[in-house]
Amino acid sequence: MAKMNLLQAINNALDIAMAKHDNVYSFGEDTGAFGGVFRATSGLTEKYGRHRNFNTPLVEQGILGFANGLASQGSYAVAEIQFGDYIFPAFDQIVNESAKFRYRSGNEFNVGGLTIRTPYGGGIAGGHYHSQSPEAYFAHTPGLKIVMPRNPHMAKGLLLSAIFDKNPVLFMEPKRLYRASTGEVPEEEYYLELGKADIVKEGKDITVLAWGAQVEIAEKAAEKAAEDGIDCEVIDLVSILPWDIDTVAESVMKTGRLVVTQEAPLTNGFASEVAASIQDRCFLYLESPIARVCGLDTPYPLCHEKEYFVDHLKVYEAIKASMTY
């Protein structure tokens, strides 16, 4: 075990993957010898050469087009999009190409070797274009897998699984936690299952569901609720697509209540999908309406970020409201 922050865990996963197979490639804007604007790819060019870890020209649609082609050739393509906010020029390549590559060819071809890494989320004074959480756009696209880790241990095991998974994976890294989240991480290679939620804290009164950077917010809210004698079950969804409806439904059938939190705006966010599916599965078990605690339906603000952000107080209030419904 070694103490690592989330960035170091990601760097370590990339290192292990690239050592394991010669045809694992890592690339993106500034990700070459410089190591990326967040340093997630630092040291990889020195270790594996500039043909395996390299810079791309400044063109996101090109990065994903290139990555799809490289993956279809049988290589493992790990493409970095510098900020999730800048992924949209590549939307067509991801939604119309990566996601449909296997299906449209009848499995003649696939881009299973593709992994898209991108930092997402707010809380860093990044304003409109360095703060967004765009997972829901992609969650509407069959053929993609979407994974959002909450801490270094999860990040390493999930990224290794994502890289070697037989499907294209969008791996969204909570950049607010890149250096803030630290923990003990096994130094060796290990894999965590995609599509499987993780019960972070067991409880009997109410289920609080979160993913990525929101999990620690949910945990903090649960601690505060515990002071009021409320026993929360906190679940990290881990994978947005496909998502582990069984684990969430079983928990809700036990507690009868659900609060879902997300950083992204309320309307049409992934929390809405969770709410719809869980009321369908657990209707007769529910003691109160499913609550969504989300960003406001505005572009991500700068000066009012603190007010906009889903913090533990907002989640705590939603927990209390659900308990006293």
Binding site: H51, V59, E108
Partner: protein, 399 residues
């Protein structure tokens, strides 16, 4: 690096703007429109077998396109895209490649696929979306693909295959396969951002890729000159991105073959990406949903008919005494019979089983998707008359 380049710049003290006159890109033509070879032309080495295989493929594509447009008009298939007039561009270039080279097409390169060995039955199975279709009936007609023949499955969005070709070729270079990728697209698709990303990245990474632009004059109804671009076509863009570029007469199969052969050598032996602009004309409509009489004249079409690539090549073959008119007619008749037989046969096969609806979305169907299929089947069993294609083939019970 950037600094060094700046130091090499020639300094001038008077402002002057460059324009298209600074770069005149000629067009390689070996076969004249009358089917004779230009004097002093650097004609490719092409033996009789190869020449006849190219001609044979041309004849096949001609009759395939003709019969399938008719089949669409009769309501037997939903849609079709003809490559009439552009056979030399796709077949001549494919003939210059190795079977191990990857082909990434747009959707009008059935000639390249046929040259590789896709059978008439395989064409028909795709066009009829039947259970033998390699694509499992999931895409509209003409979206062919075949891993065994290194022909990447066609997708409708334009230009997405161009940066993919750069990425594919990068993998070929790294794996030292000694192969390259050819990527076809039209002059309209070359307006898409993906085109520019692809050429720039290919030049930066020096990958073995041949970008083959079929400049056929139209993007559906939009004419190339003046409405698709104001510059000198597509070729100057290759030079702008720092890659070897050549413009050829796309209706001259010898010029196309020669240019592609040289491009392949550059790509495979020197990791030089190459742009080829083949000047041609889309003799047919964009697709069976299009009617060109609304946007171009009969005179214009007639002028291009005189440059017909198949007739031109046939004249050359006859002059070389490798073919007679009678041979050509016989080949055509033989291809026609094969197409008609395969068409009738393909119609007999049913659509793929409803279970295939959820396979290949992922490597294995997730649980939620299995549940959705189960619910769908229950619904179909309840209303079998509304879903005749699948209802009769559903096994009983609660699967």
């Amino acid at each position: 690096m950037a600094k060094d380049k700046q130091h090499q710049l020639e300094i001038v003290t008077q402002p002057s703007f460059l324009d298209a006159s600074a770069l005149k890109i000629p067009m390689l033509q070996i076969l004249k429109e009358d089917g004779t070879v230009h004097k002093g032309a650097d004609a490719p080495e092409m033996d009789k077998d190869l020449a006849l295989k190219i001609f044979d493929t041309m004849q096949f594509i001609r009759i395939l396109d003709e019969r399938m447009i008719a089949a669409q008009r009769q309501g037997r298939i939903s849609f079709y895209l003809s490559s009439l007039g552009e056979e030399a561009a796709s077949i001549g270039s494919a003939a210059a490649l190795d079977d191990g080279d990857m082909i990434m097409g747009q959707y009008r390169e059935q000639g390249a696929l046929a040259y590789r060995g896709f059978t008439v039955e395989q064409f028909m199975d795709q066009l009829f979306s039947n259970e033998r279709d390699l694509g499992k009936g999931r895409q509209m007609p003409v979206h062919y693909g075949c891993a065994d023949l290194n022909f990447m499955t066609i997708a409708s969005p334009l230009a997405t295959q161009i940066p993919q070709a750069t990425g594919y070729a990068y993998g070929q270079k790294m794996d030292k396969t000694g192969t390259c990728t050819i990527c076809y697209f039209g002059e309209g698709a070359a307006s898409e951002g993906d085109f520019h990303a692809a050429l720039n990245m290919a030049a930066v990474y020096k990958v073995p890729v041949i970008f083959f632009c079929r400049n056929n004059g139209y993007a559906i109804s939009t004419p190339s000159q003046g409405e698709q671009y104001a510059g000198d076509g597509i070729a100057p863009r290759g030079i702008g991105y720092g890659m070897k570029t050549i413009r050829v007469d796309g209706n001259d199969v010898l010029a196309v073959y020669k240019a592609t052969q040289l491009a392949r050598k550059l790509a495979v032996e020197e990791n030089e990406p190459v742009l080829i602009e083949g000047m041609s004309y889309r003799m047919a409509g964009h697709s069976t949903s299009d009617d060109p009489t609304g946007y171009r004249t009969r005179e214009e079409e007639a002028a291009w008919r005189a440059k017909d690539p198949v007739a031109r090549f046939q004249t050359w073959l006859i002059k070389k005494k490798w073919l007679t008119e009678k041979d050509a007619d016989e080949i055509f008749a033989e291809k026609k019979a094969a197409v008609l037989a395969a068409l009738k046969e393909a119609e007999k096969y049913p659509a793929p089983h409803i279970d295939e609806l959820i396979t290949d979305v992922y490597d294995t169907p997730p649980q939620q998707l299995q549940k959705q299929l189960k619910e769908l089947k229950e619904h179909i069993r309840k209303y079998p008359d509304a879903y005749p294609k699948t209802a009769s083939r559903l096994e009983g019970g609660n699967d």
